[in-house]
Subunit: 199 residues, 2 copies
DNA sequence: CCTACCGATCGGTAGG
DNA sequence: CCTACCGATCGGTAGG
């Protein structure tokens, strides 16, 4: 009886994870507003009321998708434990890894643009996410500056903002024409212009 | 009779322009897929079949909006007649001007992301638009290099791609938090790192 | 340009 | 009391 209950919970978690995966894909493909719960549910192999049993509303599903993705990536790359130039290099590595999963890149690319509308359900999420990303990269450049690795005349805050912006812009170009764009290479070349050679 | 006919044509063109303006705004607010012809028509003050009299389908309206915008901006800033660093500086000026019209920035930001999907009606438009923009900026950096204004070790092609990417990424950040982001300042600071001082 | 519609599909919820 | 759904349908809206 305990066995049955445990398996039931496990099945529920597995199903929930499958829903998150398919929602991630479809939100990336067509955006939040144009994605339908029926299409996500169909890809999972359940009905859409079945989906709404796991996530009470479409908005809840969206926020769960975004938070789950950031959580997994933060753990995988341990960005919170890094500083200075090392942090920036790991972010380039993350971009390089993202080139193996276009669905994730699409998700953030499409949703960040869509969420610029103030009434979008993910607006607050992306406002705070960008504030955090920019501050993190700015701290990376400040650390580089403190270590004497930053070229003179560079403002760490502006460089942090530019680094995040450059990453985002490259993702759009890469999604539009994957064969012509190597995100990590352009990112590393630009980074090399900001930190002293050999750093 | 001629008078009436002329006025009729003029009214038709004015109406068509009004539709383009309102479509530009709404496409920017919610994207192409989530924008409805009924909403655009309502803002213009006509019915949605009335709108379809001027533009036979939703796709035709989208492409008319995109082409009209690029045409107007190309004429206003005369980007086609510029070369080298001058071209790049004028693009910064265009970004600065765009900070006075968030609707236009939203339009390109949201639609470029949405159009990364291969079956999106504006996909081909944005693929060729980016190829053109990147080539134009790369030519700008090549001109700077030929004039001895480019810092050594910089690849003009990568710099051109990065310049476009940086511009796009800054627009997302600006739309999310307009008070905290000055696009032109970050863009000029980055440009100053690539071309020699005082150029 | 209008009203009056179509096939379909939307997010969400009812009872079972 | 719990979970994991189903078939059917709610009020509204999509492009045409």
């Amino acid at each position: 009886m305990t066995e049955v209950l445990v398996r039931s919970y496990a099945n529920g978690r597995a199903r929930r994870q499958l829903i998150l995966d398919e929602a991630t894909t479809l939100f990336g493909e067509v955006g939040y507003r144009a994605a339908s719960l029926r299409e996500i549910a169909a890809r999972v192999g359940i009905s859409h009321p079945g989906l709404l049993h796991h996530f009470p509303a479409k908005q809840a599903l969206l926020l769960a998708v975004l938070e789950h993705r950031d959580e997994v990536d933060a753990q995988r790359f341990g960005l919170d434990h890094l500083q200075g130039v090392e942090l920036l290099r790991h972010m380039v590595d993350l971009v390089d890894f993202n080139a193996t999963r276009p669905g994730i890149v699409e998700l953030y690319c499409v949703l960040s643009a869509e969420s610029t509308a103030p009434d979008h359900p993910a607006h607050a999420f992306f406002v705070s996410r960008y504030a955090r990303s920019v501050a993190q990269c700015a701290a990376g450049f400040e650390g580089a500056q403190a270590a004497g690795l930053l070229r003179p005349g560079i403002d760490p805050d502006a460089a942090g903002r530019a680094f995040v912006a450059l990453t985002d812009g490259l993702q759009v170009q890469w999604l539009l024409d994957r064969d012509s764009v190597d995100m990590a290479t352009v990112l590393r070349a630009t980074l090399a212009q900001l930190v002293v050679a050999g750093a």
